[in-house]
Amino acid sequence: MTALMQMTGLDVSLPAGGLVGSLLPSLGSRIDILQDVTLSIGAGETLGLVGESGSGKTTLAKALLGLQPISGGSLVFDGAPLGSAQSFARLRRATAMMFQDPVASLSPRMRIASLLTEPLIIHGERVENPTRRAGEMLESVGLPAAMASRYPHELSGGQARRVCVARALALNPSLVVADEPTAGLDVSVQGEILNLMADLKTRLGLSFLVISHNLSVIRHVTDRIAILYLGRLIEVGPTRAVFARPLHPYTQNLIASEPQPDPRKRRADLAIKGEIPSVLRRPQGCEFHTRCPFAQDRCRKERPGLEEIETNRLVRCHFAGPDGPKKKPSKED
């Protein structure tokens, strides 16, 4: 599969000025949000990005679309390197973002017709009959064309999502970034949005980057997943393989933490210990060692690299093997 979007060694850091900088002088001048992210999104592929709050998921999405300046590494979209303002302007025509809160991302003072045709006007397309054009766009996502004359507050959460899907598709993008596409939707409605996305993907050959902390959603809609922890990729692999046999201890814990809607599958011990550390105080060595049940001396000192353990399966762990991390030998404690 040829890569539509290739990120190589991507770093994003924010200036540690102001109060944070003066209180924590040890930080230096910048706080690292994302470090050394090398990841690709293939043409027609759906990539899932998973991680806890504060792991850098949304920052990565923004960096991809040029909404967040990068401090290191490179981005190549469809064979052309990104960097200058012009290259990002071209990129934005070929990509679209579906934001997390659909109602907040639709201006409350504009009718749906104007909201849907605005991307076309911004990118210099002539729109002869905005209402008719918007009506066609609404119908393509399964909404009545008459909805073009409504305002966002008149829509339900599911309808607002669909409008955001329609707007994201306005310019026939090749890559759509969906940030938490089912957040705030009821179980009975979220299937509609996921089915719509899957349908559009096959019909239009779209690539998707789906960001979610809902593992069951990720499991159903993505081809490949990447797991972020404190701004670093810790595991990348095909969705099926990762869910069937997670290799990094964090991935194993994350998958085991998902509550099961089946009382017969209740497990005695669900809980991963501790909390995600702050990016202001990154642990030394492997960043996961503070919560890892297998952590050894080496993990506390030496930072592991992202290694390809099997074909297409990358893991950042000193002790990961094809059977997952090995148990700590008791004498080493």
Binding site: V187, L194, N195, S216, S257, P261, L270, I272, E275
Partner: protein
């Protein structure tokens, strides 16, 4: 219904609005016994939150109870005076809310707040109350309870704040603990830890726990019995295993089928429930779910469905179920 710590008896409640009365709860009945964990599950607009506010007597000024009662240890909460209700909250019934940030006063330390919550415990000195608060923080798994006592809410993570909120609710050892979406604002690993904590607490807690959530996984992991709500009504009740493996009401069955966590492997398309909730200012004459139901008949649209008792523990509000 003797013995129940909490019972709701045919409670109907409506809100006044410009468009007329919104029938938010219709003939809701449920009970929770000592040592039991019950779940109330439903989607947005089913009346879960209204029910929670009714349980603690916090219904708004535009709400009106048209019939029924909420009894906690036998006393009808809704007919008490405001002063009596104040005494009841915290002592007999306590709530853990969804958002652990807004549950605390942002300018008072956690320790001072947990001490003040014991205001009605007249026999204890203030230092005893502080000790009690610290012990409770340790009980809910906060490692450095003494330090946490001096912290302000913003200095704690979401998971820690939710632990502190559970500690606050349990301080007066209430007979009934209501948890309204206790894990919705948390990450999956924190969610698992809170589920773990609630499971552990029930071991030595004599009261009843009521979990209100839209998350089928949380109910599956925690509860003994479940009430499924739809459009302001309880449409099915049963043991958690029966509800998840032998649901009888078509809505319960459809809801469980929709949860992607329930589907093994990758499905080509995910099931949904087409249609929308009925307008609660003018609920349908027949079954509220009839328009979205796959087995609905003319009778379902014409006449209100009976609450059919299917076994000692299971019942469903449906024309089409048979014992």
């Amino acid at each position: 219904m003797s013995g129940a710590l909490l019972s709701v008896e045919a409670l109907s409640l409506q809100f006044r609005s410009a468009k007329g009365a919104v029938r938010a709860l219709r003939e809701v009945s449920l009970r929770a016994d000592p040592g039991e964990v019950i779940g109330i599950v439903g989607e947005s607009g089913c009346g879960k939150s209204t029910l929670v506010t009714a349980l603690i007597g916090l219904i708004g000024a535009n709400a009106e109870v048209t019939s029924g009662a909420v009894r906690c240890k036998g006393a009808d909460i809704l007919s008490l005076t405001e002063a009596e209700r104040r005494r009841l909250r915290g002592q007999d019934i306590a709530v853990v809310f969804q958002d652990p940030m807004t549950a605390f006063n942002p300018v008072v330390t956690i320790g001072d707040q947990l001490t003040d919550f014991q205001h009605h415990r007249g026999t204890l000195s203030r230092s005893d109350k502080r000790r009690q608060a610290e012990a409770m923080l340790a009980r809910v798994g906060i490692a450095d309870a003494a330090v946490t006592m001096r912290r302000f809410p913003h200095e704690m993570s979401g998971g820690m704040r939710q632990r502190a909120a559970i500690a606050a609710a349990l301080l007066m050892t209430p007979a009934v603990l209501v948890a309204d979406e206790p894990t919705t604002a948390l990450d999956v690993t924190m969610e698992a830890q809170i589920i773990h904590l609630l499971r552990e607490l029930r071991q030595d807690y004599q009261g009843a726990i009521v979990i209100v959530t839209h998350h089928l996984g949380v109910i599956g992991e925690l509860c003994d019995r479940v009430y499924v709500m739809y459009a302001g009504q309880v449409v099915e009740e049963g043991l958690v295993d029966d509800i998840y493996h032998r649901p009888r009401h078509p809505y319960t069955a459809a809801l469980i089928a929709c949860d992607p966590a329930h589907i093994e492997g990758q499905a080509a398309s995910l099931p949904t429930i087409p249609g929308r909730l009925p307008d609660l200012t003018d609920p349908p004459a027949g079954c509220s779910f009839a328009d979205r139901c796959t087995i609905a008949t003319a009778r379902c649209r014409a006449a209100p469905p009976p609450y059919v008792r299917l076994s000692a523990t299971q019942a469903a509000l449906c024309h089409e179920v048979r014992p």
